[in-house]
């Protein structure tokens, strides 16, 4: 019995098909979703979603962050932005990383004590790094 995976970004439905297993980049580590998984709502960090079908990775998608809802039958990923890894542009990733690092530095300079804002800025850096990794991956 497969798990129905759906990946949606605000602008469109990217993918909707049953897979054997999906590995999603949850905020506290990669999480494999198999059929019958306990119901969960998780926060995603920037990373790649890997789709497993008949024992192999058949597709990889980069997500910039977002949320996922897991139930025993399905896994719904609400991505802030999602792209097949092959389409990730390295130049764009680098530009975004530079921007995120600048934003973080600005936040540190402005207010070191605002932890949620710092976390958010750090999450942006991580997301940009994951994008860069996705661009470099074969």
């Amino acid at each position: 019995m497969p798990v129905a995976l759906e990946i949606v970004s605000p602008e469109r439905l990217l993918l909707s098909r049953p897979v054997d297993m999906a590995v999603i980049p949850a905020s506290e580590g990669e999480m494999g979703v198999l059929p019958g998984h306990a119901p969960m709502i998780v926060l995603l960090r920037g990373g790649t979603i890997a789709l497993y079908e008949s024992g192999r990775i058949t597709e990889k998608l980069y997500v910039a962050g977002g949320f996922a809802e897991v139930t025993p039958e399905r896994c719904t990923v609400l991505a802030d932005e999602a792209l097949p890894t092959g389409e990730v542009s390295k130049a764009k990733a680098q530009a975004r990383l530079a921007e995120a690092e600048a934003a973080y530095a600005a936040q540190v300079a402005a207010d070191r004590t605002d932890v949620p804002a710092l976390d958010l800025a750090m999450a942006r850096i991580q997301s940009a790094r994951a994008m860069q990794d996705a661009a470099e991956a074969p």
């Binding site: 605000p10 439905l13 969960m40 709502i41 949320f67």
Partner: protein
């Protein structure tokens, strides 16, 4: 009676107007299709977001530490109205009806002794409201010259709203826009954004779906990220509805204009032919009576 030449000029000018309006109608029709497709594509995300929010929000709304974006500031003193209109005219009563609705809302709220701030999205609404409520306008946003509305645009607006909320400059936020019902019908609607209206969870069985979910990292952190995203989605949906409605309204308006121009051409052509016939008759009479006089 205008001269033949004057009539000819008139007919030609109306004909070229008709060409323009019918071309504009075609353009609006194709833009409408695109706008509808975009709105359609945005729907799955919004639906799933709603489902997650229903699971999360119900429990958080009751707690005293609930985020502001969900429950508001608790007061009901300052209202922020987001007025969404088009950047361009020539679309019938589309902009005027939003403007009118906004105006009567402002008056109503002020009659109740509340303060109103306005965030105008779209050039037409800004110009309309500036005439009367210039001092209440918080800011304006325009997408003029843009091919399509991106999600990032909506996020920009949502961030602005959040910043205002965190600065405590309003208590309640709602948006006035034209909801797209069909190509010929757009309904001016007011929707509340903050405090966020929670989707109904009545369908959930006792004990609730909400209770059965596990959360990672934890409910509050997820909610803190989910709510701004939800706000952005709401704004995005509004913008798309309004964009589709604008094209629908323009299509109808241009269709009417084309038809009116057709009627006018018919009338002018009739006048032209009559005048021509009258001229010929007069000339004949002149010739005949001239010949008879000889």
């Amino acid at each position: 009676m205008p001269s033949l030449k004057a009539l000819r000029v008139r007919i030609n000018s109306v004909k070229s107007t008709q060409k323009i309006t019918s071309a504009m109608k075609m353009v609006a029709a194709s833009k409408l299709r695109r706008a509808q497709a975009q709105a359609e594509a945005a729907r799955p995300y919004a639906e799933r977001m709603e489902r997650m929010l229903a699971a999360l929000g119900a429990s958080a709304a009751g707690s005293p530490t609930a985020p502001r974006i969900l429950v508001g500031t608790g007061a009901d003193k300052v209202h922020l109205l987001i007025v969404v209109t088009a950047d361009h005219g020539l679309c019938g009563a589309f902009n005027a009806s939003v403007g009118r609705a906004a105006r009567s809302r402002v008056r109503e709220l002020e009659a109740q002794g509340k303060t109103v701030r306005i965030l105008a999205v779209g050039r037409k609404g800004r110009d309309f409201l500036r005439r009367e409520f210039a001092d209440r306008i918080e800011g304006d946003i325009t997408f003029a010259g843009r091919k399509r509305i991106e999600f990032a645009d909506a996020q920009g607006i949502a961030e602005r709203i959040s910043a205002l909320l965190n600065a405590g400059s309003f208590d309640v936020c709602s948006v006035i826009y034209n909801r797209f019902v069909s190509v010929i019908a757009q309904v001016t609607t007011e929707t509340r954004l903050i405090p966020a209206p929670l989707p109904e969870t009545a369908a959930a069985p006792a004990g609730g779906v909400a209770a059965s979910y596990e959360f990672e990292p934890d409910e509050e952190t997820i909610l803190a990220r989910l709510l701004p995203q939800n706000l952005a989605i709401q704004v995005y949906r509004t913008l798309l509805e309004s964009a589709a409605g604008e094209q629908g309204a323009r299509m109808t308006a241009m269709d009417n204009a084309t038809r009116n121009a057709g009627d006018m051409i018919k009338r002018l052509t009739l006048n032209y032919n009559r005048a021509r016939q009258a001229n010929i008759t007069r000339e004949l009479i002149e010739i005949i009576s001239g010949a008879e006089a000889l």
